[in-house]
Symmetry: C2
Subunit: 315 residues, 2 copies
């Protein structure tokens, strides 16, 4: 039995055929053609699934389901996208549309929830029943698993931990609020913090690292810090502190078995994860009397979205 | 069928007999005698339940269960209090102890969770499946109901929204962290904010209100604000703003049907609830595309703990 997983982004759509064990049999990506309406985009997706089938010798009719991950508010019960800023969609019956177009059973969920579901089913947290995936990218995405089920609130409008206010009246966020966690803990924020430190410290190794790698990225400060640069160490420490603040909040509210960290920044491994786990657990209420909340790097990388979307239709 | 509900506090223990519809048949309170060990306290409770039975003509053997609400971390699955600062208990097998002492089936949960369960079963939110109760008292307590079930995390160590950090590096909290929500949104915090305004504004009506009522309380600023006092209005607005900040965080994470506000401050009614509901919903992500999160005053008052504890044993 094979399942299709589709991870729709504002620029690209990642598509994969996934087996029952969560292994990707074939995958590729197509451009998100925003000049088309949603039905046009769904037709592009179905055409690509057929192409993947041909290329990998799989009979299209053997595909048991198609799962869709969507950047926006998706009511997974009704299969409707209430709102997606990235795609410009509003009240789009995406599951029905895809079933009509493909002739295959479909399900849809928010993209961060799909990634969390993928990690839960086949990745870093597959032995745990209560986990939160936090993805550090342009923003901070989150997916919440409670007692082995995706939790996303009434009409799937919850699960938006990136917009937790951690600095009241702090930095302006795109969402309209001030001081949201993602303004301090996203990869974008880390780059901003690195650039600020470079301006303040012309002597810092940060400048050499940027010359060597060609641009400022989420890795810059970690690389310079490892070389012993003081300004870079400060950037890394402050960034981990901001990240820990939001994780402590999630820990005190949910006390999950583990929080999984995904997104490019999570590739820093122990330099990020070890101090983070210490800070988070030191901040939890009555931590001496409670089980530890483990902090773990994501293990499916940027395929978590495809695999999780496919896993939506595996039950 | 009658159930006993017990709401243990650091000073008093409220005890009630509750019928299957959540109505209190008889109730009173006893002192929490901390000179006794937990078994001694449980004996006091059982003696009082027997007294209540006698007084109200109920046969003790007709009590179908006893529910306990406890201020601290209670693993409701094992019936063990991991830790209670208020009672000085650590790893106390309270459910087993109570069953031995009373000969009746028992259950236990954290007190804030009991209050939330009471409001969910018989109070303000009984028609809704996803609700959060936030209690404004000495601290900020919270109880979370997801899909009709109490949620409190692994080993019941979650559900502590009062210790969400909303002002990074802000005011010192008893828990060791800085900037916890309860340092800004509890009744204690409101009193502190009122006192600060009184020092800054010797001309304010706040002083007259305090003279009239004998002391500064959570009501002081609301009373003076209603009389048109500018300094008092500022206190109320800022307080509602702090309260809204944490509720926006809970709204973006959980998107429940409603958030119930309990504790003495909730008696302010529309002067509190109306601006709060507006601010919270204005702060939610994609709020125009999602169902509103209702903000509702608690309806069981200070009996929610007893009723909710009794409701623990009603299933």
């Amino acid at each position: 039995m094979v399942y299709a997983g589709v991870d729709i982004g504002g620029t690209n759509i990642k598509i994969g055929l996934v087996d029952i064990k969560g292994a990707i049999v074939a995958d590729n990506y197509i451009k998100t053609d925003k000049s088309k309406d949603y039905k046009g985009i769904l037709r592009d997706i179905v055409a690509d699934i057929k192409l993947l089938c041909e290329q990998s010798g799989i009979d299209y009719h053997d595909i048991a389901g198609v799962g869709l991950g969507i950047p926006g508010v998706v009511d997974s019960r009704t299969g409707t996208v209430s709102y997606s800023a990235n795609l410009g969609w509003k009240d789009v019956p995406v599951v029905h549309g895809l079933e009509v177009e493909s002739g295959i059973h479909a399900e849809a969920a928010n993209d961060a929830n799909c990634a969390a579901w993928g990690e839960y089913k086949f990745g870093a947290s597959r032995s745990m029943d209560n986990v939160i995936l936090v993805t550090l990218g342009t923003g901070v995405g989150s997916g919440i698993i409670i007692e082995g089920k995706l939790f996303d609130g009434v009409a799937s409008a919850g699960g938006e931990a990136g917009h937790m206010i951690i600095v009241k009246d702090g930095k302006q966020c795109n969402c309209g609020l001030k001081g949201c966690w993602e303004r301090y803990a996203s990869a974008t924020a880390l780059i901003e913090q690195t650039e600020e430190a470079m301006q303040k410290h012309p002597e810092s190794l940060l400048h050499d690292v940027v010359k060597e790698y060609g641009k400022v990225s989420g890795r810059t400060a970690f690389i310079a810090a490892e070389k012993g640069d003081e300004a870079a160490r400060e950037v890394v420490n402050n960034y981990i502190d901001y990240l820990a603040t939001g994780l402590i909040n999630l820990g005190n509210i949910f006390h999950p078995n583990a929080i999984i960290i995904g997104g490019g920044v999570s590739n820093e491994g122990p330099a990020l994860i070890t101090p983070l786990e210490d800070k988070v657990n030191a901040g939890l209420l009555a931590s001496a009397h409670n089980p530890k909340v483990r902090i773990i790097g994501a293990s499916l990388g940027n395929k978590a979205g495809i695999i999780g979307a496919a896993a939506l239709v595996m039950q």
